[in-house]
């Protein structure tokens, strides 16, 4: 049959159907629309407000604000690069550490462990997500950092010391410790999402794998592959949390505005510098610069999320 032979009748007008709806439907539709618009409006409002408050710094430094890592309130020289670097590297490192662990936890909880153990362990994992970040910070300073200094960092530097990543003086605090704290903080989020995604896979899918003679591990591998878009979605959520995390990071990252190859070195994050300096900032340029870092944090979150979404999309589509 030729294309032209087929006549497609007029599209059924949705308008006609719309006009016949009940008033209750219309009310709820508009109510949900209002809430959605409220959210978008709020984001826009915050963005505009922050943008306005950072005008002085934007005017004064222009783009060099992003590309300079000088940060000196005394000489009033402000550049955000070290903070941007600290935020991105610590968050991505945290994600790289957390993702395999989270998947392991999720697989354990949804596929391996018996029901009687699953519920309490799941509960514990979720409790981890509810611990206030200041507590993580304390734990980081008093437990994790000393342990890093006495055991983990010496071991890393003796094993992988040839890499610039693991060279230099050992303080305990620094980029690596901050990443580790972040990794611990985002693991409950990623693992509980992964577990839910795995549990949502219908039994019939598992049966399909087993019926073909899959071993348990092969079936789990297939389930993970099946669930990969959901797992990556969880990872993005965790990454977002890591980027915005303030207190715990501030307490263990070392708070030194510098870009160093070594993960043992202290660093600084965008959220941390705002938290540390905002209250005591005196000059208006200093304040404005801190607010511009807030604006950039907004931007970084946005870009990282967009990038992650694109990544998920391409991975999911590649079937």
């Amino acid at each position: 049959m030729q294309e032209s032979d087929i006549k497609i009748s007029e599209e059924i007008s949705t308008k006609e159907i719309r006009s016949k709806r009940k008033p209750g439907d219309i009310f709820f539709e508009n109510l949900t629309l209002l809430f959605a618009l409220l959210l978008i409006g709020l984001v826009l409002f915050i963005a505009i407000e922050i943008y306005g408050d950072s005008a002085e710094s934007i005017e004064h430094f222009g783009f060099s604000f992003i590309f300079s890592s000088d940060w000196n309130p005394v000489t009033e020289k402000f550049g955000a690069l070290a903070f941007i670097y600290g935020t991105i590297v610590s968050s991505i490192l945290a994600l790289l550490i957390s993702l395999p662990v989270s998947i392991g936890v999720a697989v354990f909880l949804s596929e391996i462990v018996h029901k009687s153990v699953r519920t309490p362990v799941s509960f514990l994992v979720e409790i981890l997500a509810a611990i206030p970040s200041i507590i993580y910070g304390f734990w980081g300073i008093y437990v994790l950092a000393p342990f890093m200094a006495s055991t983990v960092q010496p071991a890393l530097s003796s094993l992988f010391g040839f890499l610039p990543l693991f060279q230099g003086p050992i303080f305990g605090t620094g980029m690596l410790t901050a990443s580790l704290i972040l990794a611990i903080m985002i693991t409950p989020i990623i693992s509980s999402i992964t577990r839910d995604v795995l549990k949502a896979i219908p039994v019939s899918q598992r049966e399909a794998a087993y019926a073909l003679g899959a071993t348990r591990w092969e079936a789990i591998k297939m389930a993970l592959l099946n669930a990969r878009s959901g797992i990556l979605g969880g990872a993005v959520l965790g990454l977002g949390r890591a980027i915005g995390e303030t207190m715990a990071v501030t307490m263990v990252i070392g708070n030194k505005a510098q870009i160093k190859a070594s993960l043992f070195e202290p660093a600084y994050s965008m959220a941390s510098v705002i938290a540390n300096e905002f209250a005591e900032a005196s000059g208006s340029l200093h304040i404005s610069s801190l607010i511009e870092i807030g604006l950039l944090l907004f931007g970084v979150t946005f870009i990282v999320n967009t990038f992650a979404r694109i990544l998920i999309y391409s991975v999911t589509r590649k079937t």
Partner: protein, 277 residues
């Protein structure tokens, strides 16, 4: 275990495979043998003491009203109940003279393929990868063998012409009937010795159905097939033996011709003549 009426497999007179109730290890003609096979879901007995023997290179059909335990029986053969919460299986199963236990379950399932009642393709895998999935599980990594297998098995199931231009699109983009044929292709691609089919054609149009029936008849030369069907004409067309299940029991197991024309049991006669069910 409750010991209800034990119905031994009354195989046709002429074919003379009398059942002693014990397993004969020298028997090379039998593909599947179950002895007092029962399945419980929690405390409810779903099938009771099923004794059946399916000969090699035969097609055995299983008929019976909905809920009588056909799927339950079929799924016990490849130990699918291992995955079902609350399911317990009693009795003995022999596949090609090998006693089936949980220890060799992976090998068993490679030899005993299954087509499920509801199509269950791997949703995020492509059509191509679905058909090749079994080969990959067998450790095969040969691209040209994949290509060949995919084309051949999709052709067997009559799907090739419909999907050959979009082998890389996801399996869930197919219609329900196409998905079922894809699942059949996926199962037969690994050449299992015994193929269990649970109403494989219930979602298919007449043309696809006759394609699958043709496939089953051709496959008989090399494989043994056990098929659950609600379509008695279909059982008549393709099967050598037919088992009639009722309320979890095997009422009659006879040559198909006999079961439909001159059944031994009154219950069978009533069912096949449409007096109930």
């Amino acid at each position: 275990m409750e010991n209800d009426t034990i119905i031994t497999d009354t195989i046709d007179d002429s074919e003379d495979i009398h059942d002693s109730g014990k397993h004969d290890t020298a028997d090379t003609k039998t593909a599947l043998r179950t002895i007092n096979l029962s399945v419980k879901f929690f405390d409810k007995l779903a099938i009771k003491n099923i004794n059946i023997r399916v000969k090699k290179n035969n097609v055995a059909a299983i008929i019976g009203p909905s809920g009588c335990g056909k799927s339950t029986f079929l799924r016990s053969i490849n130990l699918m109940h291992d995955l079902t919460p609350g399911a317990k299986v009693y009795g003995d199963i022999y596949v090609h003279n090998e006693h089936i236990t949980d220890n060799n379950v992976v090998d068993l399932r490679k030899k005993v393929g299954m087509v499920f009642q509801k199509p269950n393709p791997f949703p995020t895998m492509s059509i191509y990868d679905n058909v090749a999935a079994g080969l990959k599980l067998n450790g095969i990594r040969n691209k040209s063998l994949f290509d060949e297998t995919v084309e051949k098995n999709l052709t067997y199931t009559g799907l090739w012409d419909e999907v050959k231009d979009r082998l890389k699109s996801p399996a869930i983009s197919l219609s329900g009937g196409q998905q079922q044929r894809l699942c059949i292709a996926r199962t037969i691609a690994v050449k299992p010795e015994i193929i269990l089919m649970d109403e494989p054609t219930s979602a298919l149009d007449p043309v696809s159905t006759s394609k699958i029936e043709e496939l089953i008849i051709n496959f008989k030369k090399h494989y043994t097939i056990i098929i659950v069907t609600h379509n008695m004409q279909q059982a008549g067309r393709i099967s050598d033996y037919t088992a009639f299940f009722y309320l979890g029991k095997l009422v009659e197991y006879s040559r198909t011709r006999r079961l439909f024309t001159n059944p031994r049991e009154k219950l069978t006669e009533e069912y096949v003549t449409g007096k109930f069910g």
